[in-house]
């Protein structure tokens, strides 16, 4: 799974929380400019961490339930999960090295 898949409210538990490897979720919406800067960086990470971690994108317009459950109040926001627990978050556009650092906390 080298490319991030879309995830919805309904699949959240099975895809993200029950994943056997660390997960990074990109919360985005079509109207959000900076989200479109983050998106290709997440795509690149998905290639680099192929097999080691899974990557998802969640459209906050269509999946308000999950967005509000995690208190998303600004996008882009990236959440990192390990064993169903959130281990880190990145709010706003950050360079790829920061995203990597955040994801690597799930491997620490």
């Amino acid at each position: 799974m080298a490319k991030p898949a879309e995830v919805t409210d309904n699949e959240w538990d099975t895809q993200v929380l029950k994943s056997d490897v660390p997960v990074m979720v990109d919360f985005w919406a079509p109207w959000c400019g900076p989200c479109r800067m983050v998106s290709p960086l997440v795509d690149e990470l998905a290639e680099e961490y192929d097999g080691k971690a899974r990557f998802f994108k969640l459209n906050t317009d269509d999946n308000m339930q999950t967005a509000s459950k995690y208190g998303i109040r600004s996008i882009p926001t990236l959440l990192v999960f390990k064993g169903g627990e959130m281990v880190d978050q990145v709010i706003g556009f950050r360079p790829k090295s920061d995203l990597k650092k955040s994801l690597d906390k799930a491997f620490a």
Binding site: C32, P34, M37, I72, R73, S74, I91, G92
Partner: protein
């Protein structure tokens, strides 16, 4: 760390920097654009740009991306790095960044401006958790909740009006007893049922643990303090130029804007400043583009004159 040589180093990827890059690259100069965040700068957060001549309406982010592609198609390189300092390197300039030094025969500073923060407890900790500087980005997450809008200028009214598409109530909190915003925006704001106004009042603290739950207020006339429960604080209290790394190097006005002549030249030969970072910028996409072009042409002349073999 590695040192990289260019003809022209541009600091900041907003409209001024992108336009400078286009002209510099088309002028056959080896050109690099250094950007610390999102290309486009302030316009990357603007939903609709409606006053860039020749383009009736365009999304700000899309406009910036188009400009970037255009400049890169002529050979401009782009690096995502944070600039920490600029200094002389013989005849040339050294730009220090977190990813090594960039050497340029000329440097064009188009670092733009950034929104002011209130500087109160809770603000930084709760940014992205209810504290926001961009209603068009974040207001959708506060559907049917109450929000505060801090400020009394055009941006506060414009963005405050935008929040009313989502929030149940937007309270404008302003430290004076009247607005500074243009009349048309004031009228729209006063006519909007969801907007109310709290005058002579400042925010002392943003409250909340994981999320914003309220603000602590102080009336500047009576000195009385109070708390107001709400879920979002949108802050629009002006902006300041990103000129910190020019301290002691170029002449600046009281507001820390670089002082330049009509060719965007600072008093330092080979060092130019254009767009919102300079004094008396009109702070428009179109004027910034003009500034950037002027600076690139002036830099071209400077390089030709100074580095003639």
């Amino acid at each position: 760390m590695a040192e990289r040589e260019y003809d022209i180093v541009i600091i900041g990827g907003g409209p001024a920097g992108l336009a400078a890059g286009l002209y510099a690259a088309r002028g056959m100069h080896r050109t690099v654009l250094l950007e610390k965040g999102v290309v486009g700068g302030q316009i990357s957060l603007t939903e609709l740009v409606e006053n860039y001549p020749g383009v009736p309406t365009v999304n700000g982010f899309d406009l910036a991306q188009t400009m970037l592609k255009q400049s890169e198609s002529y050979g401009m390189e782009t690096e995502y790095v944070d600039v920490t300092g600029v200094e002389r390197a013989g005849q040339k300039w050294r730009v220090r960044t977190g990813a090594g030094d960039f050497i340029g025969k000329a440097v064009i500073v188009t670092a733009g401006a950034e929104y002011n923060r209130l500087g109160v407890p809770g603000e930084e900790r709760l940014t992205g958790k209810g504290v926001s500087y961009c209603a068009t980005c974040d207001a959708a997450f506060f559907r049917d909740m109450e929000a505060a809008v801090i400020g009394g200028g055009d941006a506060a009214m414009d963005e405050g009006l935008f929040t009313t598409r989502y929030v149940s109530k937007a309270t404008v909190i302003h430290r004076r007893d009247e607005l500074r915003a243009s009349r048309i925006l004031q009228e729209r704001a006063f006519a909007n049922e969801k907007m109310s106004f709290l005058w002579n009042t400042v925010v002392e603290e943003v409250l909340g643990d994981e999320q914003v739950t309220g603000v602590k207020l102080r009336n500047v006339v009576t000195g009385e303090t109070s708390e107001m429960p709400l879920s979002a604080v949108f802050i629009f209290i002006g902006q300041h130029p990103n000129s910190g790394f020019l301290d002691g190097l170029v002449e600046m006005d009281a507001g820390k804007h670089a002082i330049v002549d009509e060719w965007m030249r600072t008093k330092q030969p080979g060092l130019f400043a254009a767009g919102d970072v300079r004094q008396n910028s009109a702070r428009q996409v179109a004027s910034s583009v003009g500034d950037g072009v002027t600076a690139a042409i002036a830099a071209d002349h400077y390089i030709t004159d100074t580095f003639r073999e």
